[in-house]
Symmetry: D2
Subunit: 286 residues, 4 copies
Amino acid sequence: MSEIIKARLRITCPDKPGIVAAVTNFLHSHGVNITDLDQHSTDAMGGVFFMRLEFYSENMAVIRPALESAFESVLGGPFEMDWQIDYTDRPRSVAILVSRFEHCLLELLWRWTRGELPCTISAVISNHADLKEAVERFGVPFHHVPVTAETKAEAETRILEVAGDPDLVVLARYMQVLSPEFVDRFPGRIINIHHSFLPAFAGADPYRQAQERGVKIIGATAHYVTAELDAGPIIEQDTARVTHRNSVEDFKDIGRDLERQVLARAVRWHLEDRIIAHNGRTMVFR
Amino acid sequence: MSEIIKARLRITCPDKPGIVAAVTNFLHSHGVNITDLDQHSTDAMGGVFFMRLEFYSENMAVIRPALESAFESVLGGPFEMDWQIDYTDRPRSVAILVSRFEHCLLELLWRWTRGELPCTISAVISNHADLKEAVERFGVPFHHVPVTAETKAEAETRILEVAGDPDLVVLARYMQVLSPEFVDRFPGRIINIHHSFLPAFAGADPYRQAQERGVKIIGATAHYVTAELDAGPIIEQDTARVTHRNSVEDFKDIGRDLERQVLARAVRWHLEDRIIAHNGRTMVFR
Amino acid sequence: MSEIIKARLRITCPDKPGIVAAVTNFLHSHGVNITDLDQHSTDAMGGVFFMRLEFYSENMAVIRPALESAFESVLGGPFEMDWQIDYTDRPRSVAILVSRFEHCLLELLWRWTRGELPCTISAVISNHADLKEAVERFGVPFHHVPVTAETKAEAETRILEVAGDPDLVVLARYMQVLSPEFVDRFPGRIINIHHSFLPAFAGADPYRQAQERGVKIIGATAHYVTAELDAGPIIEQDTARVTHRNSVEDFKDIGRDLERQVLARAVRWHLEDRIIAHNGRTMVFR
Amino acid sequence: MSEIIKARLRITCPDKPGIVAAVTNFLHSHGVNITDLDQHSTDAMGGVFFMRLEFYSENMAVIRPALESAFESVLGGPFEMDWQIDYTDRPRSVAILVSRFEHCLLELLWRWTRGELPCTISAVISNHADLKEAVERFGVPFHHVPVTAETKAEAETRILEVAGDPDLVVLARYMQVLSPEFVDRFPGRIINIHHSFLPAFAGADPYRQAQERGVKIIGATAHYVTAELDAGPIIEQDTARVTHRNSVEDFKDIGRDLERQVLARAVRWHLEDRIIAHNGRTMVFR
């Protein structure tokens, strides 16, 4: 759209009076314009404080180093802040892992083509070769990395080689469980789509589990991946009605549309620096 | 509304060709008018067959005995049917059990007053005395039956005494677990509202569990009560969005509105003979 | 819950750099604690700026006058602000107008009893006598003010006499059109529930209109009342699915539940000072 | 999946006792197996009767002519039925018209590739050349037929030439108004997606209209096209929440996902013979 560089500041710190005033003053005195500000306290009178700001400046490239250094000494240190500034001229690189189901992958690639996902896509990696052509059509490199129980460690090494050092790894219906070592390399930077309304129906074949339990609503959940399977911080969920007429196949059909939407929203919010994860939960500033 | 007696026929039987023709023929030849017909097969080519029909006749009271007896010999026996006919001139009696939270109870009483729930209410029974006045205002008998760990058996005996031999028992946020013996007396005739999207967050304090897990959607579930806690056939569910801003108290506020709606729908469908439970699941013919 | 007085500040002004810093500084320097802050600009680079803050102080009653006077001279004047501070120790008084349908009225009274609506209810006024007993049960004064085409002016005079000078007038399915003079007395302070998804089906009998058009979803809309019928700023809307099976009566049943929820949310947000109306639209800071 | 030919029978006729029995008997006596049956009466005691049945036979190809001819003489004539049988071995051909926005088109093509839309796609026709490559990638013929105010009649002639005599025409965000003559050629066989919750915001630029009105929910509507713009029978609608933060561009983003889903569902239901249109409304038997 425009050449203007926007910055997004995220802060986590102990709550105390005067933080908002101090931060907005600081930014105002550096001549930047705040275009969005959102904040949250875990407890109205104490607790942890979270804030997200968007701001821009005509000469961001010039002021950036001084601003960041001053921020740490004036605010970050004194307020014991965990803080981070990201800039729109440095789009993230994303690697997508996928198995055979293409719906989530294609949704992401299509939205990326449209400009809805501000990132580069460094690689699509699959343990099957089926989607090669579909991916390359988008001008994105495809890598086939087969995995078996025996070759898992090698496969993950190979994935790291071809992934292109991504900022974010997206599991777009990747049916292999990643090793703790792999997960540890990308803390808060792996997003998975699980095809149930977590914590219900964690684990394998959730649509079959849901149909057998006779639920009247199914769901999908996008979450950050942690060492514990399907237990990481939830980013987004959505649900849809089903009836006794719906077979497991119908659940998959209906669920597919949920999965596509939910994963795409989660990835977009991550790339727009809207998420702060804390204590196993997420704040999503929209 | 009208003096016309309607009948509702529910059938469960092994699926085989010709059932629909046989049943509709039978009813047509008895001079009744079918106003609604719904059916479901677990498998398009075999499996279990379910059907619900509504029909009426100008002289239902007269033909009823002959019709039921003929039905069994002509259809029920030969097709190995599990079948049941209910008539709108015999409204069910309902006993409501409640603890301290009044929202589900008041919703049911209010809808009942409006004529939305075709039943009589034989009693409201609570282990607390708080809601006595609110209930009696509706012209419904209220019974206070305290329960402690030691007096549970006696309390259940007392509940049975004052409940007035109800067709249906509704647990409108009744915070005591009923004994297996009590549950066995009302097979498929106890409806509970659980304040979560089951099977997620079964057990105690589901809103707190949900908030701690960081879900983005909460739910409520109405289900038939079986011996296993929170595991009976689900009748209805609904969900609502929450965000990181919402406290456990907010979850309860938002959830309260879900609970009221979900329980009221489930009770209504039961009273309208729209539900067939089978193998731990329900069919709801709407 | 607590004795602490909370204040809610709402601001509308031309957007320019430094507003957030100036306001939060001002409040911080007056020793109050900001517990919530939300803001919106109509245009990222110019336009109109809106802000809502919640703050509290141990000695609010003492500092209040000085704070308000200083706010005007330091911020209100210089920034050309349209601003307003409301305090939780001054609950609004609400008058409810209703005709024959009681569902919205009872929902409001019930939530008010539970403490969900922070207000006093000065009067319930109806052009029918039917709901007198139901209202008085809540300890709220009921006034029967009949209206005919000929007596409309007198009736409105009478309504004003018995309404008790309310801060807010809620039309809870009041089926009479108020005169422009009446509406003018309460600018931005009359909330109506319309039983359709506005702007579709404005005017009379919207459920019939909806059924005849064959819509697959119906809705309800809470809005501020202006001189033009059903055209005031929308506060809240919600929708529900219907099918070809649903009669107009079913639409009314389903819609009733929407109306109750939508109106209750709108009234609550108004009473919590969450709404800023501007140019025929509302911002709702939640 | 299987070689079995399924048939779908749709009936519209004056309601009278015995129709269901007569039809199911007839089919049973011809040795076919009914796998689904749904029906609806406009009035419980009189009015118009609608029915949809699915049935199959091992030797459908053989019995088809006799069955259809007998049906007309035994049932169609005597009951004054408007009836139609469609068979799954005769998939419909669909022509898609589109302008510049590709999201609805790609959704349809993607679902078609997956087998979710039982049809052939005879042609994609656009008044712009942009989407040629994207369409041809799916192995579907693309035709560029420019339209101006002066050349509209010729353009429509050209469209008819290249469309391949389709059973169904889908307007997947085709921004030209079709002439009444064109519409008349495809009665009940043109489906349009309108990007609003009809009847709200008919006509041009509905998202802008919606944003200016300040609605809190937006929608999309799939409907059959009739001579009157945006007034044909509604097939499916869906809605999504928006807030004051959302710009017109955001409305378009959010709406795009609604449009894709709503149009895809409507087209699928049409192709599965689930829809009966009557008096400007649709019954959708799902």
